[in-house]
Structures are given as C-alpha cells and as structure tokens.
Amino acid sequence: MAEDRCEITCIVCPWGCQVKFKVKEGEIRNIEGNKCRRGIGYVRQEFYNPQRVLTTTVKLKGSRLPLLPVRTNKPIPKKMLGECMQYLANIEVKALIKLGQVIVPNILDTGANIISTRNLDSN
C-alpha cells in the first residue's frame, strides 16, 4: 500500500511547527519537524480524531436581540461542524435565557450539549 505524506501545523505553542509525517495503512509513521515532544501528541490527536468546540448563534424570540450565542459544552469531531450548523439553523428559542442553559442536549449524538453563553432577559 502506498505511503501518503502529510503535514500538520502544531498549535500547542506560538512556534507553530510544520510537522511532517507519513501515513501507511492508516497509521502515522516518521513524525518530523516538531521541535518538542508535545508536537507528537498534538499531531496524533489531529490526525486520528480532530476535535473542535463549535461556537455559533441560534434564533431568539422575545428579547431585545434576535440571536443567542451558543457553544458546544465540549469539543466535537471536526467533521461534524457543518452538520451541527445545519441542525442549529432550524433551532429557535424564547427569552428568558440563562448563561449555561442547555439549548440542544446531545446534538446529533456527539455527546455534547449546545449551551447558551450569555444571559438574555425577555422584553
């Protein structure tokens, strides 16, 4: 099976090392370009299971603002970001909203809740 060459920018520290590695049979080989050990852990995480916290807004009724800022309460797989955005486009909530309130539990079976990131009074 052919080897693939890959590159990931490490974001553990401000250096931003360009870490290079080969991929054979779905496994990382020959990591190089990282100036410290932390780069290895980061590259492994980024390659096998990249995760991100999603922050966005949902529609809000009954308040002075038309939008409520929300986030996932923990990182979700990077590839789920788009699907979660699609899902949240159809969500509408009503004020009063408290910071930390769960807006969507276990969004798309990711195990993460969508929570409110601010308080908003009703008008």
């Binding site: 916290v53 966005t56 038309p66």
Partner: protein
C-alpha cells in the same frame, strides 16, 4: 448643571474598565463609577462569541460573553455604580468629566482619580487609501462581526478579507460556517497577523487560502463590490506591476489593525506615545497627568483579553490608592527608551523599583532572544518572538542600580 463627586471614575465598561472597577473597590475606594456609551457592560466581548478567552487567567477556554459575565456579576455584587448609554464628551487634567445621557441630560462628574479604559477602533478603508469608488460591501471585520453575531445579518456571500489579524481570521471561519464563501485572506506581510491557533482553526480547517505578501490594489463595482484586484508586494510594501489577479467577490472585509481611542486623553493634555498611539504610562498605569490612569487597548493594542484584565487591575488599584491619598509619590522617573527590535513597549516609564511586567511588541521576527534593560540582561530566553504576538518579560528593577539613571534602553538581543 448637575454635578456629582466620586472617588474613582472609569471611562469605558469593557474588560479593562471592569477589571479596574473591581480592583479599585477591593483596595478600598469609596464611590466607584463606570461610564459607558453602550447599552450594556462588557465592551466588544459580547460580539466575540468564539472561544479562546481566559486561558491564562482562568485556565479555562471561555467565549467572549462568558468571560465578560464573570466580571459583570462581580460588579453587581460589589454594588459598583454604572451609568450606561452615557457618552463622555470632555475630560480635563483636573479630572472633571462632562458627560451626557438621556436620563440626566448633560452633567459633570468630579473624580478624585480617573481611569481611562476607552479601548480602540478599527482602521478603515479610508486610512489605507485603496483606489476605487465608494461601494456597498466594504466593511471592517469588527463591524461584520457585530452584524453576524448580534444583529443577524450576513454581510455578503463571496468575501475577500484584507489583513490577517485575529478578527479577520475569526470572521473568515464565522462567515464560512454561516454559509458565505471566503475566497481568500490577503496579507501584506510574509507571515500571518493573527495567532497560529486562529490560522489553523479558522483558515486551514476550511481550506481558505491565505495569500501572503499580497495586498488589495483596486476595488471594482458599480453600487456593490463586484471584484477586487490582489497583487504581490515588494519588501517596501509597494505593489509589483504585472502580478495583479482579479478575484470576483461581493464583499471586502478589512482587518488591518486597531488604533487606541484617545480623543479624550488629548483633551486632558495627556502625553501620547507615537509608537503605541496610547498614553505614556508608568508601571502603576499612571499617565503623564497626576491622578489619571489608563489600561487595556487604549494604552496599546493587546492580543489577549487576559492581559487587558491584568492591566485594568493595576490601574484600578493605583487609582484607588491615589483617591485614598496612599499612592506613594514616585521615587524617581526613569524613561524606558526603545532599543533594538522593539516596535513599542509599555510601561514607558518606571517610577518605583520593584518587579515590573513589560509588554513588548517586536519589529521583526527573531529566534532565541533575551531582553537587555540598561546594563542588565534578563536571563529568560524566548525561543521565538514575532510582531503578531506580544511578548511579556518581568524585569526586577529592584535588582538594578538605578540611583542616577534618567533613562534606560530596552533591547531585544540575540542569545550568544
């Protein structure tokens, strides 16, 4: 005209002002008043709905609104007085404030000490002089952020972003998530302006091209932006003829730097540092005018809100001590002069001799550097310094012989 007396008045209720108010109250200031022109406290944080705030201060990854709320809750608990939707029109060097709001009309506040925390503004197209006509679809990244995150408008569908500062990078991701196509982020320098984390998570994650050493040289369109020309630039920043490429788009966002907002400071005849665009301060955050302190982005543009809060706390403490008559007079004033590879540094003056945290922005990227202050060398090597990331060194001025010094040169030097 109504007149009011307070011990500490704070102009601006963003992260700097909030931290200053809390620390002034904790130190024991009597009446503390925050004046802010917005409808709510928190400044710009409520439109910064992304995470990455508070990693230093709280060891937590918070969004802007969550970071702000922690301070706002405390301000409420401590019963600090707040005047919202209040515009400060004038201040003077006797620490008198002229302000207005629709409840009280025009009124005066006499403060024993005053903290300036007005923050900064975005640079606009007019400051860049990009040729082309005035069109719809040209806006600063921060305004776009306000539209998308607070007001619910998408500014366009095909977007080019000029400047790779953090707000521009954050907006590239935000607009992409909301369904717009970000065609490119264009940066004049050979390296991105924002944090690496943002380059990876806002651009690379969404395959948005980052065009380095390029700038926008023309904006086309009749009523609305239709395209922009992007060209390579030489080392002087001049565009190179023959390298132009037209990118069709309906929106141009500008993320080309922030300027401390110091119109009020100038009215009080506060000395402004031309390298930061903000007041000259000492390590206690006192400006050149006795009893007037300053903190946060009005002093210098920070990358991280955590440092803004830290500076706010120092300013608030000093202002409270001043109001209580307990701020020790300066033993001496030593000017810190900008030396090698320093674009700017704060504080610019040292009035006491303790440990002082210096915030430094370098002029050029460099590896393995130390800081030289006067004759002394700070033995803390930084592996990499870059203009887009503020560097922080703590300098033990107490260990230096300062007796006859008026001035010390601060330089970033290569490790031998």
């Amino acid at each position: 005209m109504k007149e009011e007396k307070v011990d500490v008045a704070i102009i601006g209720g963003g992260p700097a002002g909030l931290a200053a108010a809390l620390s002034a109250k904790r130190v024991g200031a009597g009446k503390v008043l925050i004046l802010d022109r917005n409808k709510e406290l928190g400044g710009i944080l409520f439109q910064c709905i992304h995470n990455g705030f508070g990693l230093h201060r709280f060891k937590e990854d918070l969004t802007g609104p969550e970071y702000a709320q922690r301070f706002i809750d405390e301000v409420k608990e401590m019963k600090i007085e707040v005047k919202l939707e209040t515009m400060v029109m004038e201040i003077n060097s006797s620490r008198e404030i002229l302000a207005t709001n629709h409840k009280e009309g025009i009124f005066r506040v006499k403060a024993t000490s005053l903290v300036l925390a007005m923050g900064c503004r975005e640079r606009t197209r007019e400051m860049l002089s990009i040729p082309g006509v005035r069109l719809a679809g040209i806006l600063t990244a921060g305004v776009a952020q306000q539209w998308v995150n607070l007001e619910g408008y998408l500014p366009g569908k095909e977007v080019v972003i000029l400047g790779s500062g953090d707000i521009g990078l954050i907006m590239a991701r935000r607009l992409t998530l909301e369904g717009a196509e970000v065609k490119a982020v264009v940066e004049m320098m050979p390296y991105p302006g924002g944090l690496i984390r943002n380059v990876v998570q806002c651009l690379q994650d969404f395959d948005i091209p980052l065009l380095l050493e390029r700038t926008v040289t023309f904006i086309y369109g009749r009523n609305r932006v239709e395209a922009v020309t992007v060209a390579k630039v030489d080392a002087k920043g001049e565009s190179i003829p023959g390298t132009e490429k037209v990118i069709p788009c309906d929106t141009l966002l500008l993320s080309v730097g922030l300027i401390p907002e110091n119109e009020l400071s100038s009215l009080a005849r506060i000395e402004i540092d031309s390298s930061t665009g903000g007041p000259v301060i000492d390590e206690r955050m006192q400006t050149s005018v006795d009893g007037i302190f300053a903190c946060g982005n009005v002093v210098q543009v920070h990358d991280l809100v955590d440092y803004v809060s830290q500076q706010g706390e120092i300013a608030g403490k000093s202002a409270a001590l001043y109001a209580l008559g307990k701020l020790k007079p300066a033993k001496r004033i030593i000017k810190l002069k900008r030396g090698r590879n320093i674009r700017f540094l704060t504080p610019q003056r040292i009035s006491d001799q303790e440990k002082v945290t210096l915030f430094i922005r370098v002029a050029n990227p460099e590896q393995k550097v130390k800081l030289r202050v006067g004759e002394g060398i700070i033995e803390q090597t930084k592996p990499l310094v870059r203009p887009n990331q503020m560097v922080v060194w703590t300098v033990p001025f107490g260990d230096f012989k300062l007796s006859d010094l008026r001035e010390m040169e601060v330089s970033v030097i290569r490790e031998k």
